[in-house]
Symmetry: none
Subunit: 218 residues, 2 copies
Amino acid sequence: STQASVTTATQSPVVIAPQPSMLKTGATHPSMAPINCGELAKVGQLVNKPQQTASGEEGINLEEIREFAKNFKIRRLSLGLTQTQVGQALTATEGPAYSQSAICRFEKLDITPKSAQKLKPVLEKWLAEAEHWNQKGQQNLMEFVGGEPSKKRKRRTSFTPQAIEVLNSYFEKNALPTGQEITEIARELNYDREVVRVWFCNRRQTLKNTSKINVFQV
Amino acid sequence: STQASVTTATQSPVVIAPQPSMLKTGATHPSMAPINCGELAKVGQLVNKPQQTASGEEGINLEEIREFAKNFKIRRLSLGLTQTQVGQALTATEGPAYSQSAICRFEKLDITPKSAQKLKPVLEKWLAEAEHWNQKGQQNLMEFVGGEPSKKRKRRTSFTPQAIEVLNSYFEKNALPTGQEITEIARELNYDREVVRVWFCNRRQTLKNTSKINVFQV
DNA sequence: AGCATAAATAATAA
DNA sequence: TTATTATTTATGCT
């Protein structure tokens, strides 16, 4: 799948600078990806290389895992759940804890066959149950997931021009302030700390985007 | 720019049963939203208030629109498309232009019934077509989505023998130059940076194909 | 009606 | 895993 290809491409040392245009086409070749980089090979790399399957993976149906991963994502989205929610819910209910990253990596098959094999039934069971609750109404699903039923998106903050000026002056001096510094800036401007933190994140993004354009223009 | 990126997830004819889902879209409580804010009421606000429907909206099936909006989102995600991609594709193909914001607002029903009524068939038609192309392979879908059919393939670059010699000498020293180095080489040879980057990609590919060994092991 | 950008989510690095 | 970046979605403005 494209998903798998993308992962592979990104991990492959062959790729210089992951150019979005390259990624989106799915034109990269999974076969290009070396699986012997001193790490364990991932499902996404192995699934297209049945011949090279190393010892110890005979019992694992990689194709089945890939199918499930693909399906899992769609079903998760159909339920309107985020990777974070799934991870947190699993952590709450089951033995092992799963982070958002873990779910992300499973969906992208950026995971060893052994781990995938272990995780798959857990996800399968949980998802089926979530769908079951969802049938009875979204409220039940949210309870099952453990989220606050009506967690609303935060209202978009408007910064005053004065505040933006101050923020920019700080940004010029240091685009990556420490947590301590963020706290102080937030206090000075009398804004929420989190809001200030996000402002710096987005500001970095913007700068990066614009400067990238400039680079291409050169 | 980098809009149409990695998340080209999960293709394949996986049909999603239109289940009572709770995408974020539907998760908010429309009934809680006040209608009278001095603005025109939105579909999401009206759909649960059939009694209060104002004049001029008799001919519009709000429930149907809500169903479609919900479904549209799921189908869009199943195709692995972003709102941005949809908006851009629609803009490219049809008469009126649609921004990412427009798609977002349609999915959230944050749109007047009249606008929704107008947009719905457009989206319906486009999505069906997109799914059709997807059936034939993700590549077709991406062409359809990104598709300026008029956009011509870049003309194949001819390197002079001298340039190739220089490139090869660089390649021998370092098969995987950094972005900075590529830029410098391109400037020295007076070729397009992208062309040089691709040359290195292709050169590595060639080497790999012929040598069968992984030269790029870190 | 849509740009600019804040907020949220997904992906990657550490 | 946690921390951060990259990408997508949502929304205040006008």
